[in-house]
């Protein structure tokens, strides 16, 4: 499991980019949780989540100061009705085509093709540039998990951005 040589080392670059601040305390987990997948993909109900800062116009846009709120996006939403706000990545691509960070149209197509069993009715978005790892752990993550589980899903597909 070796990455391509050319991968960007984001941790040192973050240190350099924010060199006037005290070093960021990255999350370092020693092991990964594991839930076996019990059904095949074409029988599974899949929910989509993205930390890209995509929201539905009419919803409250995300702010970029530790916003731990979640937007619920109905799966039938049109990508032309999306807005985006995030400070950590170049948004010109996502503004033109949200599917590069929030693949809702791809997921709908995979549902139509029968590649996945079903796409959950609601997708979830948030603004992933949250400085406080504690607030992610204590506020955002439990909310996200609770809502996704209430949707009776078999697989949660996350797209960080």
């Amino acid at each position: 499991m070796n990455p391509p040589e050319s991968y960007v080392r984001y941790i040192p670059r973050t240190r350099d980019l924010y060199s006037s601040h005290s070093p960021y305390q990255w999350v370092e987990n020693t092991d990964a949780p594991w839930t076996p997948l019990t059904k095949p993909l074409n029988q599974s109900r899949v929910a989509l989540a993205s930390s890209s800062g995509i929201y539905l116009k009419g919803q409250k846009p995300f702010h970029t100061k530790d916003d731990t709120s979640i937007r619920e996006i109905p799966k039938s939403s049109s990508t032309s009705d999306f807005g985006v706000n995030h400070f950590g990545y170049r948004m010109d691509g996502a503004e033109r085509d949200p599917n590069c960070v929030f693949p809702l149209e791809q997921m709908r197509k995979l549902e139509c093709e029968g590649f996945i069993g079903e796409l959950a009715d609601t997708a979830y978005t948030f603004m992933g540039g949250i400085y406080s790892t504690r607030r992610v752990r204590e506020e955002l993550a439990p909310q996200l998990v609770e809502r996704a589980l209430a949707n009776d899903i078999d697989l949660f597909y996350l797209v960080p951005a």
Binding site: M1, R13, W26, W34, R90, C100, F102, L158
Partner: protein, 94 residues
């Protein structure tokens, strides 16, 4: 299952299952407008989720950002990186 374009951060966090695409942040499920690639990446990632057996492992997906030889990595996450990607200003991959 999570996408990743930041190898070092993902290795630190250790999500249960991850699929790595070596693209600039903001393109984790494919380049804007490239529907064929976007579909392939999502399909590959979901397929990988069902073949992975080691908690915290990362599947590397075989996509290249720029076959023409222009690098993007040099300027990524460095001052000015939020400017739109301009191919002609990119420096060659080292």
């Amino acid at each position: 299952m999570t996408m990743s374009s930041a190898w070092d951060i993902t290795r630190n966090v250790k999500p249960p299952r991850a699929a790595f695409v070596n693209f600039p942040l903001g393109n984790q499920t494919g380049r804007p407008g490239n529907r064929e690639e976007q579909m392939a990446i999502v399909r590959d990632a979901l397929t990988a989720a069902y073949s992975m057996a080691e908690p915290g492992a990362v599947t590397i997906l075989p996509y290249e950002w720029d076959e023409a030889g222009y690098g993007w990595q040099g300027g990524e996450y460095r001052p000015g990186y939020l400017r739109p990607y301009v191919r002609t200003e990119a420096t060659p991959t080292v």
